[in-house]
C-alpha cells in the first residue's frame, strides 16, 4: 500500500512536470502563441525534463541513491539557473521583464518555484522510501507510470520539433533574443552567436572596481584643449588630526564652519580650518552599508550629509546635548556630539553602475548633487540631483560643453576622462574638481553645461572642494588645502 502510494505519487509528479511547465510551454505557448524560448529558457526547460526523466528512472528501477542524488543535483542547478535568469530582470520597473507573463509572473521566474517544488518533492519521496523499495530488476510501470512515460515522450517529441525549428541542429544554439516560433522554414533563424568569443567573468558587468586616485594622470593633458591656468592663491593645512585620510570638504556660511570627512569620520572645524569644533566616527556596520565616505555637504539647519562611494548616505545633526547612550548604536567615537538622522541610499538610473566621490547641496533648489567617477566598465560623467525632501532622484544629466564658452575638446576626447572627487555649489553654479588633470570645472546647472575649465598646477590628489566667499578651498588627500579664486 505504502509502496503503491509512493510510485503513484511519483508518477503523478512526472505527469504534472511533463504537462504543466514543459508541455504547456511547447504546445500552447510555443505552437499556438509562437513563443520561442531564449537560450537560458531552453536550458531551464531541459532541466525540468531531466528531473522528470529521473522520475521515470525511479518508476522503472526503484529509488536508487544515484537517481535521487542526480535529481537533487539537477534541481539545485535548476534553482541556480532560475536565480541567474531572474536576476537579469529582477531590478526592472514593475511589470517589466522578458517574453510572456503567466499569472502575473514572467515564465523564467516560474522556474524557481518549479525547481524548488521538485527538491521538496524529492525530500518527501525519500521520507516515504524504505530499504526494501530498492529493487535489483526493472519493475512494471503500471497504468499511471505508463501514462506518465508516454506523455513524457510526446512532450519531449514536441520539444524536439520546436528546438529544431528555433535553434537548429548542432552546432547551432539557442539565442539570447529568439524570433517568434514558426512551422515555416522560411522564418527559422539558426544562430551561432552564443559561440562568439566573449570574456569569461563571474560577476560580469557588476564587477566594477572601487574608485581609486592611484593611477590618475595629475598633470596637463585633459580632454579640454588648452584649459587656462588658475593659480593657487595660498596654501594651508588642516590644524587638527584626523582618523584616516580626508575624503571631502564643505563649508557652511550660516555657521561659519567647515566639514571634513574621512572614511567614516565627520569633523566640523572653524572657518580657518585650524580648530576642531566637534567630530564623530560613524559606525558603518550593522545597517545600511555606507561604504567609504566620499562626499560631504551641509544641508539645511546645520545638518550635515555624508555620502559613501556607493551613494549610501547618513544625515547627522550636531547637538550639544546628544544622548550618548542612545547614540551608542550609531557611532564609534564622540557619542554626544551628533544625533543621527536618516541613513539610507540614493538610487540612480544613468549613474547606477558608477561610484561617486563627491556631494554638494544647493540650498536654493533644496537639492543634493553627486557626480560619478568613471570605472573599468562605465566611463561617463553623470550629475545626479536628489530632492532634499524625499532624498529621491529628481534629475540626471551628462553635461556638455557650453556653446559660448569657447571651450573645445582635444581630438576625440570627452568630458568622461575627468575624475571628479569634489563638488560644491555657489550662485547656481557647480564647481567640480577633477583629480585627473587637476582641473576645476564650472558647470551651469540650468543649462547643464560646462562653462569653464581651469587647470590648477600644484594640486596633489584633491579629494574635496568648498566655496567660502569668493574663494574655493580644495582639500588634498594629504591634508593640505589650496585656496583659489572662483
Amino acid at each position: 500500500m505504502r509502496r503503491e502510494l509512493l510510485y503513484s505519487t511519483l508518477a503523478l509528479a512526472v505527469l504534472a512536470l511533463a504537462v504543466i511547465p514543459i508541455g504547456i510551454a511547447v504546445f500552447v505557448l510555443g505552437f499556438v502563441y509562437g513563443d520561442s524560448p531564449c537560450v537560458m529558457c531552453w536550458e531551464q526547460r531541459i532541466g525540468m525534463a531531466l528531473v522528470a526523466l529521473v522520475g521515470l528512472f525511479v518508476l522503472r528501477y526503484g529509488p536508487k541513491p544515484k537517481y535521487i542524488g542526480l535529481a537533487v543535483l539537477i534541481a539545485i542547478w535548476g534553482v541556480f539557473m532560475g536565480i541567474r535568469h531572474t536576476g537579469m530582470h529582477a531590478a526592472r520597473d514593475v511589470g517589466q521583464g522578458f517574453s510572456v507573463e503567466i499569472l502575473g509572473a514572467h515564465t523564467y521566474t516560474w522556474a524557481l518555484l518549479i525547481y524548488w517544488v521538485s527538491v521538496a518533492m524529492m525530500g518527501l519521496l525519500l521520507l516515504m522510501t524504505r530499504k526494501e523499495d530498492i529493487e535489483d530488476r526493472p519493475r512494471p510501470l503500471g497504468l499511471l507510470g505508463g501514462l506518465a512515460g508516454t506523455v513524457f515522450l510526446v512532450v519531449i517529441a514536441g520539444n524536439v520539433v520546436q528546438a529544431f525549428a528555433s535553434t537548429g541542429p548542432p552546432p547551432f544554439m539557442g539565442q539570447s533574443d529568439p524570433v517568434r516560433f514558426s512551422f515555416s522554414p522560411k522564418h527559422w533563424v539558426w544562430s551561432l552567436d552564443e559561440w562568439s568569443p566573449a570574456p569569461i567573468s563571474l560577476r560580469g558587468r557588476w564587477a566594477i572596481d572601487k574608485p581609486s586616485l592611484a593611477a590618475l594622470p595629475a598633470g596637463p593633458g585633459g580632454p579640454i584643449a588648452e584649459a587656462p591656468v588658475l593659480p593657487v592663491a595660498r596654501e594651508l593645512r588642516l590644524g587638527f588630526p584626523l582618523s584616516g585620510i580626508p575624503t571631502d570638504l564643505a563649508y557652511d556660511p550660516a555657521t561659519s564652519q567647515f566639514l571634513v570627512t574621512t572614511e567614516h569620520g565627520v569633523y566640523l572645524a572653524d572657518e580657518t580650518l585650524a580648530k576642531l569644533n566637534r567630530h564623530t566616527i560613524v559606525d558603518a556596520g550593522f545597517a545600511v552599508d555606507l561604504g567609504r565616505f566620499a562626499g560631504a555637504a551641509f544641508l539645511d539647519k546645520g545638518a550635515v550629509l555624508a555620502v559613501g562611494e556607493n551613494k549610501s548616505f547618513v544625515v547627522l545633526e550636531p547637538g550639544d546635548k546628544a544622548d550618548a547612550d542612545a547614540n551608542f548604536r550609531f557611532f564609534l567615537e564622540s557619542f554626544d556630539t551628533f544625533n543621527e538622522g536618516p541613513r539610507s541610499r540614493f538610487g540612480t538610473v544613468r549613474a547606477r553602475m558608477m561610484y561617486v566621490m563627491s556631494a554638494a547641496y544647493d540650498s536654493e533648489s533644496k537639492s543634493i548633487y553627486t557626480v560619478t567617477v568613471p570605472n573599468n566598465k562605465v566611463k561617463r560623467l553623470i550629475i545626479s540631483r536628489f530632492d532634499r525632501n524625499d532624498m529621491t532622484l529628481s534629475e540626471e544629466f551628462a553635461p556638455a560643453l557650453a556653446k559660448d564658452a569657447g571651450l573645445t575638446l582635444a581630438g576625440k576626447r570627452t568630458l568622461n576622462d575627468y575624475y571628479v572627487t569634489g563638488a560644491t555649489i555657489a550662485a547656481g553654479r557647480m564647481y567640480a574638481i577633477s583629480a585627473a588633470f587637476n582641473t576645476l570645472l564650472t558647470i551651469d546647472l540650468q543649462t547643464r553645461s560646462v562653462t569653464a575649465a581651469r587647470a590648477i598646477p600644484g594640486l596633489a590628489r584633491p579629494v574635496g572642494i568648498a566655496a567660502k566667499g569668493d574663494e574655493l578651498y580644495i582639500l588634498g588627500e594629504s591634508g593640505k588645502v589650496w585656496v583659489v579664486g572662483q
Binding site: R60, Y61, L70, L141, I156, A198, I200, W206
Partner: protein, 55 residues
C-alpha cells in the same frame, strides 16, 4: 545544440520505457544530458556566470 540534447533525452526515455534492460546505457545518456545542459547554460552565461545582481 538544444535539439541534440532533447533527442538524447527522448532516446533515454524510450530506453527506460521500452528497453528497460539497457539501464546502464540509459543512465549514461542521462548523465551526458545533465552535463550537456550545464555546459550549454554556462556557455550562454559565461560573461557573468553568477546571477546578474548587485553584489
Amino acid at each position: 545544440m538544444e535539439f541534440l540534447n532533447l533527442v538524447v533525452i527522448f532516446v533515454t526515455a524510450y530506453l527506460v520505457l521500452r528497453k528497460p534492460h539497457k539501464e546502464r546505457l540509459a543512465f549514461g545518456l542521462l548523465v551526458f544530458s545533465v552535463l550537456f545542459m550545464v555546459f550549454l547554460f554556462s556557455v550562454a552565461t559565461r560573461t557573468g556566470l553568477l546571477p546578474g545582481v548587485n553584489y
